[in-house]
Symmetry: C2
Subunit: 276 residues, 2 copies
C-alpha cells in the first residue's frame, strides 16, 4: 500500500475532468484550489494561441503534465494512416509549444480489422513519429486501454502489450501511461508495473474509480473511493518503481459534468487525500 | 479459419437469447426451426417439474447442452459463501434432473474485495461442489468473463486464469466454457484455447458479436456478423483442439428481445450459417 497523500503537490487534474470549463477557467480554478499540475486536452486549445496558453499556465504556477491525446493510428487505408501520423506530429508540436513533456496516445483500433494488424499499424505509426518527437523534445506515452475499448479505441489492452511495444520501439521518446481504470482488473498488473518501471517506461499515472454498476462504457467513471479499484495498492506498485510523478485525475462522467464544477473540484481534492 | 457451417446440427440456442419466450415455447420454436441443442437458463425452470421439462425436450429431439448458471461464489461473509455453494449444489441437481451434462459458472466477484481473494473463494467454492458433481454425473464449466465484469460478476477474466484454476482443481468434473464475447480481445487467446483443449478442459463454446458502439454493458450483444469479433478464426482455434460440441448462441439484447422472436430466430439461423 502506498503512503497516505497529505498535500496537493502531486495532484494533477485533466481538463476533460471539468469538461464544462474552458481552459482559462479550468486553469484559474485549479490554481486557486491548490492543484499543482494540469493535463491539457487538445480540444481546449482549438483556435487558441498556444504560446499564450503556455504563459497563462506558467503565470498560474501550474505544471503542464501532459497533452491528451494523440494516437488513433490504425486505419484500413494507407492515406488515413498517414493522416493519423500527421496529426500526431501536430500533437507533438502542440505539446512542445505548450511545454508538455509528453503526448498521451490512445492508440486506436478499427472494428473488424484484426487486432494483430491494428497493433502492427500502431507500432509503425509511433515509429514514424519518433524523429519528430526527438527533435521537439516531446515523448509519446502509450496508454493501454480497457479491453472494452478493443473494438474502436485501442488494440493495446493490457500493460503487458504496452510494455512489449515500448520495449520493441526501444526509444527514449516512448513510454507508457498507466491508468487504473483500464488496468485494475489485470491479474498480472503488479508484475507489469514493475517491468514498466524497470525499463524506464513508466511515464504517467492516471486515477479515478470503477462504478458498480457502470451505466455507460465511456462516461461513467467514478471519483476515487466511489468504486472498487484498489487504488492505494496500485499507487504503491507504481511508486515502488521509483515513480515520483503526478497522480492525474482523469474522470469522464456525465454525472459530474452536470454538477457545479467548483463543488466537483472540492470533491476531487477530498477524495484525492482520502482514497487515492 | 474454421470450415463453413452448412447445417444446424451443431447449433444450440440459449433460452436467454429469446428471453420473451418461456421454456416450452422456446423449445417448440427451436425444434420447429431445426435447432439441434438448447441451453436452459434456470429462471425458465422456476416452479416447473424438471422431469417433465426433460421429457418435453426429449420429445422435441432437442439435446440439452448445458444449464446456465451457477457460480457467484465469493462473498464477504462465510454464511453467504456457504449459501452460494448450496445453490450450486442445487444447480447440479437441476442439471442432473434435466439431463444437462454441465452447469456453466459465472464465478462471481464482490466489489471492493480484492480480486485475489475472490478468486481464492471461487476456487474453494468449486472444490466444495466436486463430490456432489461427481455423484450427480454433472460437470462444472468455469466461464471467464470480460474484464468489464470484474467488479461484481466474475474475478476470472481471462482464459489463462480459467485454465490456471481448472488445472489447479484437476478434476474430471471441472472444465471451461469459452465465450467469444468475453475473450475475443485477448492477445493470448489462440494459445490459451490450445492449452484448454490439450488439458481436456474445453467444454463449451458460446457465440455472438461485439457491437460498435456498445450501448449497454450487459444487454447490447450483437448477432454474429454485426460486430467486430473474429468469430470464424476463434471457432477454428476451438475446433483445432478437437472440439466437436455445439456452437451456442447466447445473446443478451434489449434490442432483439423487443423484436418478434420468430423473426429473430430466423436471423440467428441466417447469421449462424453466414458469419459463425
Amino acid at each position: 500500500m502506498a503512503q497516505a497523500l497529505t498535500d496537493f503537490s502531486r495532484l494533477c487534474v485533466h481538463t476533460i475532468t471539468t469538461k464544462p470549463w474552458p481552459l482559462e477557467k479550468a486553469a484559474k480554478e485549479f490554481s486557486a484550489a491548490g492543484v499543482s499540475g494540469i493535463t491539457v486536452w487538445r480540444d481546449t486549445l482549438a483556435g487558441k494561441n498556444i504560446n499564450h496558453a503556455r504563459q497563462m499556465l506558467l503565470d498560474l504556477n501550474l505544471e503542464v503534465v501532459s497533452l491528451c491525446r494523440g494516437g488513433f493510428l490504425p486505419a484500413l487505408e494507407p492515406a488515413k494512416r498517414q493522416a493519423a501520423i500527421d496529426d500526431n506530429l501536430k500533437a507533438i508540436d502542440e505539446a512542445a509549444a505548450l511545454g508538455a513533456p509528453h503526448v498521451v496516445l490512445v492508440c486506436g483500433a478499427v472494428p473488424g480489422q484484426p487486432l494483430t494488424e491494428s497493433r502492427k499499424q500502431i507500432q509503425e505509426g509511433i515509429a514514424a513519429c519518433l524523429d519528430h518527437a526527438a527533435a521537439a523534445g516531446v515523448k509519446l506515452a502509450i496508454e493501454p486501454l480497457h479491453p472494452m475499448y478493443a473494438d474502436d479505441r485501442s488494440a493495446v489492452n493490457t500493460l503487458a502489450q504496452a510494455n512489449d511495444m515500448a520495449e520493441a520501439l526501444n526509444s527514449p521518446w516512448v513510454g507508457i501511461a498507466v491508468d487504473v481504470y483500464h488496468l485494475w482488473w489485470d491479474p498480472d498488473l503488479e508484475n507489469q508495473i514493475k517491468r514498466c518501471g524497470q525499463n524506464g517506461n513508466l511515464m504517467a499515472f492516471h486515477i479515478c474509480d470503477w462504478n458498480t454498476p457502470t451505466t455507460d462504457l465511456l462516461n461513467d467513471r467514478g471519483l476515487m473511493g466511489e468504486g472498487c479499484i484498489n487504488l492505494k495498492e496500485i499507487r504503491g506498485w507504481v511508486e515502488a518503481t521509483g515513480f515520483t510523478g503526478y497522480n492525474e485525475v482523469e474522470i469522464f462522467s456525465h454525472k459530474f459534468w452536470a454538477q457545479d464544477q467548483h463543488e466537483f473540484l472540492n470533491k476531487i481534492k477530498e477524495a484525492y487525500i482520502k482514497y487515492s
